[in-house]
Subunit: 151 residues, 2 copies
């Protein structure tokens, strides 16, 4: 699983068109202010265990930046090794449920073309990425460089 | 090299803070309307040849969506195998120069924390990604799925 976490003033999205893989969705979209927006590629081999590790990472970052809201935004462009749509939707729903005990959670629908507007705050923790594998979490090089830069 | 191409109503960014890897930059930021915004991770092993292939891909997409402006936006979060900063900046400048013969090109500075706002249009070609390797261009699974969906 690959995730990109953006601490945002707002995100606003609107569904435009279904892809063949679209999950059922009746709404038009929504706007969420002051949120940690998490773009997510669920990858082949990801399990509930992977998803739980992602939930821990997301929770930790949300707490650090004082975000009370989390937006889960399925995003196919972070990986070239995507899980099948059924698994992806299942794990996204699982993450939504787990995060809901601590945060106000919003989940945008899987498999739709969407227009979106986002405003990323720009402080040093406002853009982070993680690669979460079966066994452990790979902190991406960008973060390693940030961490080095701080040391 | 990994690139994420967003056909956008606008992008607006503001530099916030240098990282250790920052290239010199005197401005505050800028806003570009009606642009193809290209988020770019330059990777270890990328050469001018890789960059030229990326320029071809970017040009092709810009023409398809009728974008006259291209924004090159260095983005560390698309890869965990980043090139060193000198190579990255050198290839980004090279791409800027090559694209300038056909487009109005803007390049945001490398190695700065930046706040940004973007509005992605949401039509089927408004979000694409490519992985460009020495030998050939890997169309990501997301695009393959889109292409299958259309067939
Ligand atoms: Mg879109």
């Amino acid at each position: 699983m690959k995730i990109l976490l953006l601490h945002s003033d707002y995100i606003e999205y609107e569904v435009k068109k279904k892809t063949r893989l679209a999950e059922p969705f009746e709404g038009k979209g929504e706007r969420v202010d002051e949120a940690l927006v998490v773009f997510i590629s669920v990858e082949k081999g990801d399990t509930e265990d992977t998803a739980l590790k992602a939930v821990e990472e997301i929770s930790e970052v949300a707490k650090k930046v004082n975000a009370e809201k989390v937006v889960l935004y399925p995003y196919a462009h972070l990986s070239s090794n995507l899980a099948d749509p059924e698994t992806a939707v299942k794990l996204l729903k699982f993450m939504e449920e787990k995060l809901s005990s601590s945060f106000e959670v919003h989940r945008s629908p899987f498999g739709w073309y969407k227009a979106f507007k986002i405003s990323c705050k720009g402080h040093p923790l406002s853009e982070l990425s993680r690669e979460i594998k079966g066994e452990d979490i790979e902190v991406t090089q960008a973060l390693r460089d940030e961490e080095k830069a701080k040391s």
